[in-house]
């Protein structure tokens, strides 16, 4: 079995590792299975909402637009809408059903949301990552709601014997204005279900000016009450009768293997029932488990204590020498030599030689761990050739596929129940923990919960890569930038899928490297080789973090060298309002979106810079020891600019009095959740900039918990974060929100530190660099 190389089975970003042109086969399959009225986006032209195409149709299983799949109405009028994406804090479990409710004229207080299990043939793609949910589902959800509305209207018109054009759904009932008659949705439910589903072409979508919910932000998330009372169910909260609790000791070095173990002491621990080996896969093997030794107990505490008492001998394997200090030196060396050219405009080499002045910056960002507040955890119940999973997974469909494959049973026999996720950040796109639970449940013949401890999470995850970005900017004698060479070197996520992958995948190149928006005549991007020695995975905003850090720091460095205002410098480099031409790039990726709907629009990029400068008081005078920094970055096809005000005291202690962020994410659903995502992105950005560092020695991660991998706490968090959302134009397609807030934060902070102190930090985390 090779789960790595069958392109038909590749999901999400993985497809971009292997497949150049994605066919629509998967969508057609969805059509067949869902029967009569499963339509795949892209979306057709509408007067009320201009046409735009998205990459949704190219995702595994595409989209399914069928009200019978997503909406049901009970006789008492309660409308149940399916949430088919994973909720990890973005609000998607509320916002997608809210779109349906909006279009169908349902009253939100009479709507219940039901979480879909993993079933992409039925619901369409469920990979909740890449900041895609609203972007891909705004229009399909509107169409589902509009279809349901028109079926309700048709049923009422029939009941009254009037033409359907005379009736109108309004706030949970259908009204015949001429006669004043009304019927509630509940009274119409049975008849509406008998109506045929209307063709998508004839659907009439609501005029946005009639929206009650969309774009308003007054609706709280559906789980709000349960979260505040402890009733909300995360993966860790699932309890089944007869369930066993397991923790696993995993090989400390990626690619390592179990040699031998002695369970005698572990078995003496009160509550421990069994100790057994768990199957592991050789590295790399996508998301398959690492293997190790499992301790089974009557509760998690006993399992952890039992694991502490295990005596294990490991074979560390080929990565046993991975050392972060030495590895950094190798990245620096690679970045100082020419690498694979991945974008070339003009002749940067010659222009750098003829430049009056060359400014060079090398920017380092270490590995980062996700440390979602809920560590990985899953419950599995395997009975014969059937398996049921309960887990906080970002990819319900992918989990179903991988579990089925691992157990050697048909996918149809695997049920994946998606719980709430206690944070995801990309970690829970990988379902290794669910596979572990399935393997153990099969072995033990009982339901099993596998709980990862925080140490497991920090030491055995899929880390954010480690990177060196080297930028050389050539200036002419007037200080104009005439050349830009950016070498980006980092182990690739592709190395988790295929042994020996050393170059960035197109989706990584497309995150802040080859999509550079600057108007510079001679621009070259290179990607030297880098070998991976641990599992590399997606981390919120992915390669955009190091790239934005490097590019936006360099802008401020050039401004300082030429004595210009950093914001003016930034606007000068962005240049004229235009759509950036990426024709010289082999695969511009563009977050999987068609360039026609989602071009790199420098007018929008400029606008967020100008907006944040205006609202955030760029240029205002600040107290001594304070400084302002600015950065902008387009990612996940959204445009975000941030200003950070920093304060550094005479001991070098850093605080952040104020953050201002402007975001243009096109047409949006819930501005209140956009604000919360951006507020959170500032915290995550500050965490990684100030503290974020995972290091290896002798192949092993040296950190384990929040003491040695600290994150920002309330006492260090910015005093205030302001968020400004650009009102969308009528034709602006929706774009990402969950991730793009992160990348501009660190460079804005670093530029602010420079403004405050004159110190230029090129190596993250800041750590103690400001002290002394």
């Amino acid at each position: 079995m090779n789960i790595l190389t069958n392109p038909k089975k590749l999901r999400g970003f993985e497809r971009h590792l292997k497949v150049e042109n994605v066919s629509r086969r998967s969508i057609l399959k969805g059509l067949g299975i869902a029967g009569g009225f499963a339509l795949a986006a892209p979306v057709m032209s509408r007067p009320a909402f201009a046409a735009y195409e998205t990459g949704a149709g190219a995702m595994p299983h595409g989209t399914v637009v069928d009200p019978r799949v997503f909406v049901s109405i009970a006789p008492d009028g309660i409308v149940t809408i399916i949430g088919h994406r994973a909720e990890m804090g973005t609000g998607v479990r509320t916002s997608l059903p809210l779109i349906v409710a909006e279009e169908m004229e349902a009253d939100w207080s009479r709507v219940r949301v039901q979480q879909a299990p993993g079933n992409e043939a039925k619901y369409g793609n469920q990979d909740t990552d890449g900041s895609r949910s609203t972007r891909h589902y705004l229009m399909p959800m509107r169409q589902i709601g509009a279809s349901a509305r028109s079926m309700l209207e048709a049923a009422a018109a029939k009941r009254w014997g009037v033409p359907a054009t005379e009736v109108k759904a309004r706030n949970h009932e259908v009204v015949h204005a001429a006669s004043g008659r009304k019927l509630g949705f509940g009274e119409l439910a049975a008849d509406a279900a008998k109506e045929s589903v209307p063709g998508i072409e004839g659907l009439k979508l609501k005029d946005p000016k009639d929206f009650r919910y969309l774009g308003k932000g007054q609706i709280g998330i559906v789980d709000l009450k349960d979260i505040t009372t402890g009733k909300a169910q995360y993966g860790a909260d699932i309890r089944l009768p007869g369930m066993k609790y397991a923790v696993i000791a995993r090989p400390p070095v990626t690619g390592g293997k179990l040699k031998s173990f002695d369970a005698a002491d572990a078995m003496k621990v009160s509550g421990v029932e069994k100790v057994l080996e768990v199957k592991g896969w050789p590295w790399p093997s996508k998301f398959q488990p690492l293997g190790g030794v499992a301790v089974i107990a009557r509760n998690t505490g006993a399992a952890i204590k039992g694991r502490d008492a295990l005596k294990i001998v490991w074979d560390d394997g080929a990565n046993g020498k991975y050392d972060s200090v030495a590895y950094r030196a190798s990245l620096e060396e690679a970045a100082r030599k020419p690498g694979l050219v991945v974008r070339k405009e003009g002749d940067a080499e010659a222009a750098l030689k003829s430049a009056d002045k060359v400014i060079t910056g090398e920017y380092y960002l270490p590995h980062l761990a996700h440390v979602s507040m809920e560590p990985p955890v899953a419950v599995a119940d395997v009975k014969g050739d059937r398996c049921e999973i309960w887990a906080p997974v970002q990819s319900a469909g992918g989990t179903r596929e991988d579990v089925a494959k691992t157990l050697g049973i048909p996918e149809a026999n695997v049920t994946v129940n998606v719980t709430l996720l206690g944070g995801g950040f990309g970690r829970k796109s990988k379902c290794d923990f669910a596979i572990e639970a399935a393997l153990l449940s099969k072995e033990l013949g009982a339901p099993v919960k596998v709980q990862w401890t925080r140490e497991d999470d920090v030491r055995h995850g899929f880390l954010h890569t480690v990177s060196l970005e080297r930028i050389e900017a050539g200036l002419d004698k007037n200080g104009k930038v005439i050349a830009w060479r950016h070498r980006s070197v980092a182990p690739t996520i592709a190395s988790t899928f295929a042994a020996g992958a050393k170059h960035a995948a197109p989706f990584e190149l497309g995150m802040g490297l080859i999509d550079n928006p600057f108007e510079i005549a001679n621009l070259q991007c290179e990607n030297p080789e880098a070998a991976a020695h641990t599992r590399i995975g997606w981390f919120r905003a992915v390669s955009n973090i190091p790239r934005a850090f490097a590019v936006q720091s360099m802008v401020a460095e050039i401004a300082a060298a030429t004595k210009r205002d950093p914001k003016d410098m930034l606007l000068e480099l962005i240049g004229s309002p235009r759509l950036v031409n990426l024709s010289s790039v082999k695969d511009p990726w563009n977050y999987g979106e068609p360039y026609g709907s989602y071009p790199i629009d420098t007018a929008r990029l400029r606008k967020v810079v100008e907006l944040v400068a205006d609202k955030g008081g760029w240029g205002r005078s600040v107290p001594k020891g304070h400084g302002l920094g600015i950065a902008v970055h387009r990612s996940f096809v959204s445009y975000i600019a941030t200003i950070v005000e920093v304060a550094i005291d005479d001991k070098g202690k850093l605080t952040v009095p104020r953050v201002d962020t402007a975001i243009d994410c096109g047409t949006y659903v819930n501005p209140e959740r956009i604000e919360s995502q951006i507020e959170g992105a500032a915290i995550m950005g500050l965490s990684l900039a100030k503290y974020g560092e995972i290091t290896f020695k002798d192949g092993k991660v040296q950190q384990g918990n929040f003491d040695d991998f600290p994150v920002i706490r309330l006492d260090e968090s910015p005093l205030v974060t302001h968020v400004y959302i650009v009102p969308p134009g009528p034709d602006t397609p929706p774009s990402g929100v969950g991730e793009p807030g992160v990348p501009p934060f660190a460079p804005a902070l670093i530029n602010a530190i420079f403004a405050a102190t004159g110190k230029r930090i090129r190596s993250l985390p800041i750590g103690k660099q400001l002290e002394a």
């Binding site: 860790a236 509760n299 006993a302 809920e374 925080r454 918990n705 929040f706 994150v711 309330l714």
Partner: protein, 150 residues
């Protein structure tokens, strides 16, 4: 056999007396509102209130709480309408929500001890509770709102 009182109800425990209260609550009693985040008193996800004090259940053993009243998020208020819970909902504090029960218990304990905390007191008292989603601005504002009346 150990007897402990959780949310006013007596619970028996015949297993390891050193078992961390966190796992006793979650796995043995079934009160899953108290969360695991670090196991080392570093994150506050497991915060419960014992004798009006915020306590980390992950480093407290079952035997430590014999004869004391343990309140978990499930017992904070019969209908979930403690002022801190209400303030949390009014300001839409949670993102993923996982840390929030611990945050709410910490906030409630703070207000028992200091009904009108200052800005700095809030930031300091809540600093033991990590929110990886970064909902801090709203956490701070919600504690303040709860202290001034919801």
């Amino acid at each position: 056999m150990i007897k402990v009182k959780i949310n006013g109800q007596e619970q028996n425990w015949d297993g390891d007396p050193d078992l961390p209260l966190l796992w006793f609550l979650r796995d043995e009693v079934g009160l899953t509102g108290t969360k695991y985040g670090c196991g080392q008193a570093l994150c506050g996800s497991c915060t419960v209130i014992i004798d009006k004090q915020a306590v980390r259940a992950c480093i407290t053993s079952v035997s430590d709480v014999v004869g004391r009243d343990v309140t978990t998020i499930e017992g904070l208020h019969p209908t979930g309408d403690h002022p801190v819970q209400k303030a949390w909902r009014q300001l839409n504090v949670p993102q993923c929500g996982y840390c929030q029960t611990g945050q709410i218990m910490q906030g409630a304990a703070l207000l028992m001890d200091n009904p009108k905390p200052s800005h700095d007191q809030i930031r300091e008292a809540m600093a033991g509770n990590i929110c990886r989603c970064g909902a801090y601005q709203r956490i701070e504002n919600a504690v303040r709102l709860a202290s001034t009346g919801v």
